[in-house]
Symmetry: C2
Subunit: 192 residues, 2 copies
């Protein structure tokens, strides 16, 4: 088991067979030593790649993406969830379904911060159905930017978003890939 | 001028006498070298203080708070804007007025991540009317935690939130304090 799988085993809480709570170290309270290890992991994995920017989506992806951008020494861009439908012309937009909140969010990135031919590293905390990633990929396409790689902390592999996007040819690295969570025993099975 | 004042002069955009746009380096696209300097600034300022945690509020405070927490080597907690009014008993809550969106947000922090007698460093990107800070201070009080210091990147001093909170005895350090912004000339006057 790697550092993140161990942390999930110790401090993660299986709420049910689909929901894993990591509120005490990753997406509400955040353990900076885990963040640093996540950044080191991706830096080692992609030491041969050059990224122009890191892209994530608010809010829980920001902390991870910040340390990854710091490690690669490139700017970070986070897509915003728009509060209104009055979207001006100078933004790229994508509709992202949130299963947690059971609603559609419009996410936006200003055209001035994402450019043609830039090599983008997309970072997020969770990959489940792949809705958020699909939205971020769409925004990169609108800008004419390249999705060079995608780095995920925790992939719920049983929800198939990762499988679907890998089939489309995207280079996705997830540090902890969960195959199955048992609602009764609270056990977590990782894909090695 | 310090590094942040210089960056604001170069890349900030005065939209009108009240609104400063820092989308290209601080709250949409984020310049990691500026983040690192912000963290160094607060670390040097409070090298004699011991904090147990850094506290901020989603979304645009998270990147700054992450590098500050990393620098002080303590956990980061970010208050969440609740999506529903179905707040369970295991959270602290505060109402925060957003002038940008002209609405009241309920912000929440889980009781399990904020404890009695902890020394808290509150970090945010902007201080204007002080609404967000007042909410975070209220949450600390509910937890019985101490607000040891407050670190702000940009204070719009003319909006008086900082003045009001300093009068209440809070130790607030703002890296760039704006006295006045001119809507016509687009000039920014800092308090030295």
């Amino acid at each position: 088991m790697n550092f993140l799988e161990e942390k999930i085993r110790t401090d993660g809480i299986v709420l049910n067979e689909k929901v894993l709570k990591v509120d005490t170290f990753l997406d509400h309270q955040i353990d900076v030593s885990i963040l640093n290890k996540i950044a080191d992991y991706f830096k080692e994995k992609w030491s041969d790649l050059n990224f122009d920017k890191v892209l994530t989506i608010e809010a829980s992806g920001i902390a991870i993406a910040t340390v990854v951008a710091q490690k690669f020494n490139v700017p970070l861009v986070f897509a915003k969830k728009s509060k209104t439908l009055n979207i001006s012309d100078d933004v790229y937009t994508a509709d992202v379904m949130s299963f947690t909140h059971q609603k559609m969010n419009k996410v936006i990135v200003s055209k001035e911060v994402l450019n043609k031919d830039e090599n983008i590293l997309i970072i997020d905390d969770f990959l489940a159905h792949g809705e958020a990633l699909t939205g971020l990929i769409s925004i990169c396409k609108q800008a004419g930017a390249n999705v060079s790689a995608i780095g995920i902390a925790i992939e719920k592999a049983f929800q198939k978003g990762g499988e679907k996007l890998r089939e489309q040819g995207y280079k996705i690295e997830s540090i902890a890939r969960i195959n199955k969570m048992d609602a009764t025993s609270r056990e977590i099975e990782f894909i090695q």
